[in-house]
Symmetry: C3
């Protein structure tokens, strides 16, 4: 159910952004109970000057390599779960894809369970 | 007021994605009381490996032809209306644009009425 | 914290869309208490037929030059603040970037404070 949008500057490795998507999917399964196979993502690479990020907001030193992640998901996760999700994504990006932890920007948008159709025109999660 | 984002893999017919947008607009008018002329959409085609979809989540067989639809709209529609919307979009895509019903992925994001400006810097829907 | 997405038709001036982003950032600081340096944006230019807008909904005469702005931000701003934001963006676009006020479309998506990580895998705004 989460719909994940990842936006990065153009990267020399054409598979880099897919690797990032895979790490986000794994982190959601490990920390916020996203089911196996619930993996839907829109990955976009941009020219450098099309992503704007402040290089020091909140004292965090960001680079040109910042990754924007916006996840639309069902409401109901606790703040503790969200914190675990952020930490797991940032650590995963750093360890498995060479992204600086400072460069991981995450935004969550929460919606109701009946706000999804996964195919066939049916609201699979509605009561 | 709905803002519709449609994301698909590059399609040989350059007008295909616009046809999909037209079907979504018509379905919103028919099922969730969207007014005539309230039609605002951002349509994007992607390279194939930039859209990630699980080919079997919830037992639905998805293909490379999956269409991602995300609609930002005012809160207040009932679950019944949402179900009608999903069904009408999926049937319309299938009958008028040759999209498999399994390949229709829909996500709704609900907002308050004062969260829109349709031009001139005015909040046309605010009380 | 706001994440700003701006979508426009391809513009002859390659810096036009960045100028628009700068005006939105300044307007958010001036009207809805967005802090200095809190500036994160995804700017996208599209082929003309990929942005759909009705040319007369609500009696507003829109052109091909319409700008779509979608801002994800923390909940809690008053309707008065939102009205000031819309007005300030539309006036700023008109005066500083030559955009018709009729062509400024704005959509806000509100989220909880714990729904953000600005880097390092931490929920900087969570209680």
């Amino acid at each position: 159910m989460p719909l994940v949008r990842i936006d990065i500057r153009k990267h020399p490795d054409p598979e880099h952004i897919q690797k990032l998507g895979q790490i986000v999917y794994q982190a959601m399964r490990d920390t916020i109970n996203v089911p196996d196979h619930d993996n839907f993502q829109i990955l976009t690479e941009h020219d450098g000057n099309r992503l704007v990020n402040d290089p020091e907001y909140l004292g965090i030193r960001r680079s040109e390599g910042q990754v924007f992640i916006q996840i639309t998901l069902n409401e109901g996760r606790t703040t503790e779960q969200k914190k675990m999700l952020y930490q797991t994504i940032a650590k995963g990006f750093n360890e498995a894809a060479g992204v600086r932890m400072e460069d991981v920007f995450i935004s969550l948008v929460e919606v109701k369970r009946e706000n999804w159709s996964f195919g066939n025109g049916i609201a699979q999660y509605a009561e």
